[in-house]
C-alpha cells in the first residue's frame, strides 16, 4: 500500500473509481504498480513457456514446444537408468543357485521387492493380490503349506516357468493329465479320460469315503462301499491313502485344504464332472518371440511366493 492514502483521510483523499451502485461507491485504493508488472511478467512467462514447452491442446496431442520436452521420454530415461542399475543384480540373480538366493540378504531383498510387483501385475488376477487364491474356483492359495506340485523353491520355479496343462509349453506340468469326469452322465473329453463310469450311487459312496478320510462327517455304510471304488479308480493318482501325488498334481484329500471345496455337494460335482485347472507358461516362448517373464523375473517371483509362509 502506498503511504499516501493512509496519511490522509480516505473519504476525502483517496477518491473513488467512479463506480456507483445504488449509492454505494467504490473507493480507489490503488494496487502497487509492481503488482501490475508482475502480472505482465506472468503473461510474458506464459507466452515464452507455451513456445518452449508442450502447451496448446490439439485434437491429437498438443503443440510439442521447440525444446522438445517430454515427460514420457523423461520417464523412459529414468526406467532405462534403473534397468541399467539393476542389471548386475539381475545377472547375479540368474546365475545364483535357487536355494542360495534366500540366504543372500542383498539378493533376497531385491527378489522380494521385484517379485512383489511382478506378482501384483501378472499373478494377482487369478491368485489374488494377497496370494490367497480364489476359494472354490480352483485358483490355489499360495499362502498355505499344501502344494500340488511341491513347495520347494525349485518346484515353484518350475511351475511358474512352464505352467500347468497349457497348450503352449511342451514342458508344462500335467499335460494330458486331468481329474476325469467319473459320472456316467458326463460327456465329452473329460468323461473319455475316466477308466470307469460310476452311477450316482457309486459317486455318492466315493464322496462319503473322501469325506471320511478328510475327517468330516460321513455316512459310514456308504464310505465303506466307497473305499473299494476309491482303491480301484482314484488311488492310481491320489494314492492308496488319499494323500495325493505331486508328480501328477493330485491333491491330498486327507487334509483341510481344498482346491475347489470339500463339501459333499462340491465333491460330488468334482468327482462327477472332473477338474482340469490351467496355469499359463511364463518362461516358455515359441521360436522368435520373448517369454512373458524373463528368467530373473521368474526367479524373483518364485522367491516371493516361496516366502509367503508356505514355502518348503
Amino acid at each position: 500500500m502506498c503511504a499516501k492514502p493512509i496519511k490522509q483521510d480516505p473519504r476525502d483523499k483517496v477518491g473513488t473509481t467512479g463506480h456507483n451502485w445504488d449509492g454505494i461507491e467504490e473507493l480507489n485504493n490503488p494496487l502497487p504498480r509492481w503488482w501490475l508488472w508482475s502480472f505482465y511478467a506472468c503473461i510474458a512467462f506464459a507466452l515464452v513457456y507455451s513456445v518452449l514447452y508442450p502447451a496448446w491442446p490439439l485434437i491429437h496431442g498438443a503443440t510439442p514446444g521447440i525444446l522438445g520436452a517430454s515427460t514420457r521420454a523423461d520417464v523412459a530415461v529414468e526406467i532405462k537408468r534403473f534397468d541399467d542399475l539393476n542389471a548386475p543384480i539381475k545377472a547375479k540373480l540368474v546365475a545364483a543357485d535357487l536355494t542360495a538366493i534366500e540366504k543372500d540378504d542383498g539378493l533376497k531383498s531385491y527378489a522380494m521387492e521385484a517379485g512383489k510387483s511382478i506378482f501384483a501385475t501378472n499373478c494377482a488376477p487369478c491368485h489374488g493380490a494377497g496370494a490367497a487364491g480364489v476359494q472354490g474356483k480352483g485358483y490355489p492359495n499360495l499362502l498355505d503349506n499344501d502344494w500340488l506340485y511341491g513347495g520347494s523353491i525349485d518346484a515353484i520355479h518350475t511351475t511358474i516357468t512352464h505352467g500347468v496343462r497349457n497348450t503352449v509349453d511342451p514342458d508344462a506340468r500335467n499335460v494330458g493329465i486331468v481329474m476325469p469326469a467319473w459320472s456316467d452322465k458326463a460327456t465329452g473329453a473329460m468323461a473319455d479320460a475316466a477308466t470307469t463310469k460310476l452311477n450316482d450311487e457309486q459317486v455318492g459312496q466315493v464322496v462319503n469315503y473322501v469325506l471320511k478320510i478328510s475327517g468330516q462327517t460321513a455316512d459310514e455304510a456308504k464310505a465303506t462301499a466307497g473305499a473299494q471304488i476309491f482303491a480301484d479308480n482314484c488311488a492310481a493318482c491320489h494314492g492308496a491313502d488319499g494323500k495325493g501325488n505331486r508328480d501328477m498334481g493330485a491333491p491330498n484329500l486327507t487334509d483341510a485344504i481344498w482346491l475347489y471345496g470339500g463339501s459333499e455337494a462340491t465333491l460330488t460335482q468334482t468327482i462327477s464332472y472332473g477338474r482340469a485347472g490351467v496355469m499359463p507358461t511364463w518362461g516358455y516362448a515359441p521360436q522368435g518371440s520373448a517369454p512373458r517373464l524373463s528368467e530373473d523375473q521368474i526367479r524373483a517371483v518364485a522367491v516371493y511366493v516361496h516366502s509367503l509362509g508356505g514355502g518348503e
Partner: protein
C-alpha cells in the same frame, strides 16, 4: 462523486526512510534482534556428543537418514506427531500472543521485521539518517550515490549469504559442509539453497520490506480475528492529543504535529489515524513520541500500548483497567490451556516413548490361512526400529485367549537382529491349532510381547535371554470365519 481527475488504479511504492530513534522499545528490539539472529546463525555450530556413529551436531535435520536431532532428543519419521504438535503449539502461541498483546509477533519476532531492521541499520550506517537518505535518493546518479549504494548492497548481500549459509548448516554437519562449501565440493543443492535464500533475503529485506507485510503476508488479515477490544495494542490517545498544533495556541491538545511518529515508522504510516492493517506494532512511534513529550514537558504516553476498552475510561478521566484484567479473559485462558495441554502431552510422550519401537500391522488379505492340518495362521507385518546406537536382538512372545504359536519368516528362532539405528521389516506368523478357541473364534485379541537383548551377539546364557526392555503391542487374531 467521481473525481474530475482520471483515477489512478495503480500507485508506485513510496520509499520509506525511517529516522533513527532511541528509547526503551528500540533498546528492546536491538536485544531481541541480537538474540534471535544469534540463535539462528550459531545454533548449527553447537556440538552434542551422542556416541560413536552418531552425528555430534546439537540441532540437525538429517534428511538423508530421516532423523531429526535436537540436543538429547532424536525424532524418527514415525514420530512426526511431535513436529505436528510443535506446529500446533506455535499456532496456538500466536493466537495467545495476538489476542493478549496484538501483533507482537509482527513487531518484534517476525524474520521479515528482524532482517528489515538489520538492513535499515546497514542503510543508516552507509548513507546516514533520514534526511541524508532522502537527499541521496532524490539526487541524480553520481559517483557518491553509486558508491554508497554499492557498499550498502554488498553488505546486504553478505548478510543474505550468511542467512542462506546458516540455513543449509541445519541439514548436515556444519563444519564438514563449511569446508566443502569453501572448497567447492558441496552438493549443488547446498549452493542452490544458499543462492535462493541470499537473493530472497537481499530482496525482501532491502527492497520489498513493508510490501511483504502488506501484500504478501496473510497474517495481518488473520490477526483481525484474533484481536478484540481488550487486546493491548499500540494506539494514539486522540482525546489527549487533538486538536494537534502549536502549544502556544490555547485549546490545542498535546500533539504538536512534529511528525516524529511518522518519520520513524518502518511501515511509513501515521499511527494517529488509528488501528490499521499496515501497523506491525513495532513500538518505535512510542519511543519517538515519548522523546518529543519529554522535550516539551508533557507526560509520556500520547502514543502507547492501550486497549480499546481503555478509551472511554480515559476520556472520563479515570484510570485504565489493570493490564492483567485485559490479558486474563476467557479466550486467552482457553488458548493457554490448549497450548499447555499439548505441550505437557508432548513432553510426557517424549519421556514415555520406548527405545524399542515396533509397529505391527495384521495382513488382511486374506484375514487368515487354513493350513493342511486345519490349523489357522495369521500373518503380521512388523516394523522393528532399533533406536539404540548398537545392534539389538528383538525377541518375541505372545499371549492370547487361545493357544497360539509364533514363527518368524526366514528364521527358526523367535528373535531377529536389528542393526543399530535401523528399521527392519519382519513378517510374523501366528498359528492356532484346529479346534482351539483362537482358531474357532471370529476374532480375538492378541498381545505380542517384544523384548530386546543388548549386545552385538547374543550372549550364551543357556537359552535365557537377558531382557533389557519389554513392550507389547495389541492386535487381533482372526479365526476361521464360519
Amino acid at each position: 462523486m467521481s473525481s474530475t481527475d482520471e483515477p489512478k488504479l495503480y500507485a508506485a511504492r513510496e520509499p520509506i526512510f525511517p529516522r533513527r530513534v532511541s528509547g526503551k522499545f528500540r533498546t528492546l528490539k536491538w536485544w531481541l534482534m541480537g538474540l534471535m539472529l544469534g540463535v539462528y546463525y550459531l545454533t548449527p555450530w553447537i556440538r552434542w556428543d551422542r556416541g560413536p556413529q552418531m552425528p555430534d551436531q546439537a540441532v540437525l535435520l538429517d534428511l538423508s537418514t530421516r532423523r531429526f536431532f535436537f540436543f538429547m532428543i532424536e525424532i524418527w519419521p514415525n514420530e512426526f506427531y511431535f513436529v505436528a504438535g510443535l506446529l500446533i503449539m506455535a499456532g496456538l502461541g500466536l493466537f495467545l500472543f495476538t489476542s493478549a498483546a496484538g501483533r507482537v509477533w509482527c513487531g518484534y519476532a517476525c524474520p521479515q521485521t528482524v532482517w528489515t531492521d538489520l538492513f535499515i541499520l546497514v542503510e543508516r550506517w552507509v548513507e546516514g539518517d533520514r534526511n541524508a537518505r532522502i537527499r541521496l535518493h532524490r539526487q541524480p546518479w553520481n559517483w557518491e550515490k553509486l558508491i554508497k549504494n554499492g557498499i550498502k548492497w554488498s553488505i546486504w548481500l553478505l548478510i543474505g549469504l550468511a542467512t542462506g549459509g546458516a540455513w543449509v548448516f541445519y541439514f548436515t554437519d556444519a563444519p564438514t559442509l563449511m569446508s566443502n562449501l569453501i572448497h567447492g565440493t558441496a552438493h549443488p543443492v547446498a549452493y542452490l539453497t544458499m543462492a535462493v535464500l541470499t537473493f530472497t533475503t537481499f530482496f525482501f529485506g532491502g527492497f520489498a520490506r513493508e510490501q511483504i507485510c502488506i501484500y504478501a503476508c496473510p497474517w495481518p488479515r488473520i490477526q483481525a480475528a484474533m484481536m478484540d477490544e481488550d487486546t493491548i495494542t499500540i494506539g494514539y490517545r486522540s482525546w489527549r492529543g487533538e486538536p494537534r498544533g502549536k502549544q502556544t495556541v490555547a485549546g490545542n491538545g498535546d500533539c504538536i504535529d512534529c511528525m516524529a511518529c511518522v518519520n520513524v515508522c518502518p511501515m511509513g504510516i501515521d499511527i494517529r489515524n488509528g488501528q490499521q492493517l499496515a501497523c506491525i506494532t513495532c513500538g518505535l512511534c512510542i519511543d519517538a513520541c515519548d522523546t518529543t513529550m519529554d522535550k516539551i514537558g508533557k507526560p509520556r504516553g500520547l502514543i502507547g500500548y492501550l486497549a480499546l476498552t481503555d478509551e472511554p475510561l480515559e476520556r472520563a478521566g479515570q484510570h485504565d483497567k489493570p493490564v492483567w484484567k485485559h490479558i486474563l479473559r476467557p479466550r486467552t485462558i482457553l488458548y493457554t490451556v490448549l497450548w499447555a495441554g499439548i505441550g505437557v502431552g508432548l513432553v510426557v510422550a517424549l519421556f514415555l516413548r520406548s527405545n524399542l519401537d515396533v509397529s505391527i500391522s495384521p495382513v488382511r488379505n486374506p484375514t487368515h490361512v487354513v493350513l493342511s492340518d486345519g490349523s489357522i495362521r495369521n500373518t503380521y507385518n512388523m516394523r522393528l526400529r532399533n533406536k539404540h546406537g548398537e545392534d539389538r536382538w528383538f525377541v518375541f512372545s505372545a499371549t492370547a485367549g487361545g493357544d497360539v504359536t509364533l514363527a518368524l519368516d526366514g528364521t527358526e528362532e523367535l528373535r531377529v537382529l536389528v542393526k543399530a539405528n535401523e528399521t527392519r521389516e519382519q513378517r510374523l506368523y501366528v498359528t492356532a491349532k484346529a479346534g482351539t478357541v483362537a482358531a474357532s473364534a471370529h476374532h480375538m485379541p492378541l498381545r505380542i510381547w517384544i523384548s530386546d537383548a543388548s549386545g552385538p551377539t547374543l550372549p550364551d546364557t543357556g537359552g535365557v535371554i537377558p531382557k533389557a526392555e519389554r513392550i507389547y503391542k495389541d492386535t487381533i487374531f482372526n479365526g476361521k470365519d464360519d
